[in-house]
Symmetry: C2
Subunit: 352 residues, 2 copies
Amino acid sequence: MFSKRLKELKPYIPGEQPGDANYIKLNTNENPFGPSPRVKDILNTFDPENLRLYPDPLFKNLRSKLADKYGLLPNQVFAGNGSDEVLSFVFFAFFDTLNGNLIFPEHTYSFYPVYCDFYGISYQKIPLKSDFSIDINSFLKTHEIAGLIFPNPNAPTGILMPLKEVEDLIQRFPKDRLVVIDEAYIDFGGQSAVPLIDKYNNLLVIKTFSKSMSLAGIRLGYALGNEKLIAALFAVKDSFNSYPIDTLTLKIAEAAVSDMGYYDKINKKIIQNRKKLTLDLEQKGWNVLPSSANFIFTRKEGLSGSHVYKKFKEKGILVRHFNHDGIKDFVRITIGTDEMMESFMSVLKTEF
Amino acid sequence: MFSKRLKELKPYIPGEQPGDANYIKLNTNENPFGPSPRVKDILNTFDPENLRLYPDPLFKNLRSKLADKYGLLPNQVFAGNGSDEVLSFVFFAFFDTLNGNLIFPEHTYSFYPVYCDFYGISYQKIPLKSDFSIDINSFLKTHEIAGLIFPNPNAPTGILMPLKEVEDLIQRFPKDRLVVIDEAYIDFGGQSAVPLIDKYNNLLVIKTFSKSMSLAGIRLGYALGNEKLIAALFAVKDSFNSYPIDTLTLKIAEAAVSDMGYYDKINKKIIQNRKKLTLDLEQKGWNVLPSSANFIFTRKEGLSGSHVYKKFKEKGILVRHFNHDGIKDFVRITIGTDEMMESFMSVLKTEF
């Protein structure tokens, strides 16, 4: 009764989402500050009668607002039910094993190999440099590739690739192979590759409302790129689910995009808290990778990551540990409010 | 840059969703009455601060409420971003070309062949009887099948298969092949196959909040069946998108399920309006298939369906026409409010 496809899956395991609110959640890179106050206005004024109708399957209003934000045209914008769905459609549309392997960094978003197994795409992991940064020369010297995907900043390291290096990579990359840059964390101090879109037809940039926009709960992600790439993503969407984004999500996202002043303020505060946490940890002898994201990746000589994770959990704080060779001694810690960071440091000081 | 997979897609074309509200929409089977008033309460009391967090990836509360509604266990319930997404996961998990063709009725939900093309599943369409009802004997005498899917009532015909016949079909069907019954329209006068779930391990029933629950705008569908089938659907979900249902959708759906009295009332009214529309059309010489859904499928001798569609559109009313051999002379008309039905009949009387 079960398909061969099903047996080949190795599902992604998301960070814990405990039902009770007693944990301090520093494990899934959610924004510690709430979304724009304009979201409340939407909830207060929205007429539920509208919910009897299907949403706009083309997301026209949202795409036009996002296009304005980035100086693009609406047909250079695709959107989906979280950047995870957008990524899944990207893997379907562009990465063809007939061309070779998809390449991505050895330590990166662990959903990438899961999509590959889902669609039967072969892949090759490219080792990071010894400082855990991405090695663009290794990307460039790999042959028979179906495409390239990496997050910038990378996760779970938090390390940013400067825009100059990103452009250097795209310039030297085969023109008929797609480069996908997953910019989930770019708003925490990085420079986006979006301005390169009109220059390179083989560049696709993925964004999300879950991190810097503090709207993980509405499930919204989007892709920016050449209009032919976007049209391909619409063809995939229309072969999977005509209406992946619900009406309220569209309205809430449109309101949030109109309030970037608020988001600049909260995300500056996150950058400030990241700097402080990094210094505090270094003072206690922890090694912290240089982060441009809303999390840090850290370890202390002699401690295993799983031990650190368990100790924090006992004390009511969730952090993320990845049981992967090469990063087993690290934990990933989401940047929280002042209060969350103080609780974190206070546990760290007593326990380690 | 584009995959071979992409080139093989034949995307589904959803019914028109015009941006302006000037049309009377009788084309996509939306409920003409709004959702439960409890939805407004949710919007008024929901704290947007919660949206900074990811939703529950297991939808525990909703699954437990749905399980209670149907006398099932929560592990017999899966949910997804609209029944379209749930169906897509079902096609992935259970229909394996290695076993033969997936079978479904010749005239049915036109997304089924689209999913087949998406996942590379071969299929065989089984002709309807001359009265447009489903021929279960044709299903049963087909060999080398990967599984069976059909809507009950069927779309776009609206014709119901009585529960006794459904059980007869399942009983005589190979035990190691899945039977999927898509009950999107069952609440408009049909008898659900859900009570058969504990008896047949190879039965999966699909439901949606888009029709009888009047919540097409929130994107929510679900599947009910044996726990092993449900576990398989979770494995697919976790290989595609960990969080396909957003926080507000979950809350709204939970509130709606708690107000079935309201829904029984509005759906009784739809059944009443369907009866009246059927009589009115028959009086004007139209042939109407016997419908147990919130739409009717109708034609008039000498008129082409595309002509009828165009005439109604000119007068501000959208109906649905399918340009498929065998049903080209039909149009599908969603049952609306008294006022909508009067407008419809008044155009019909002047134009045809």
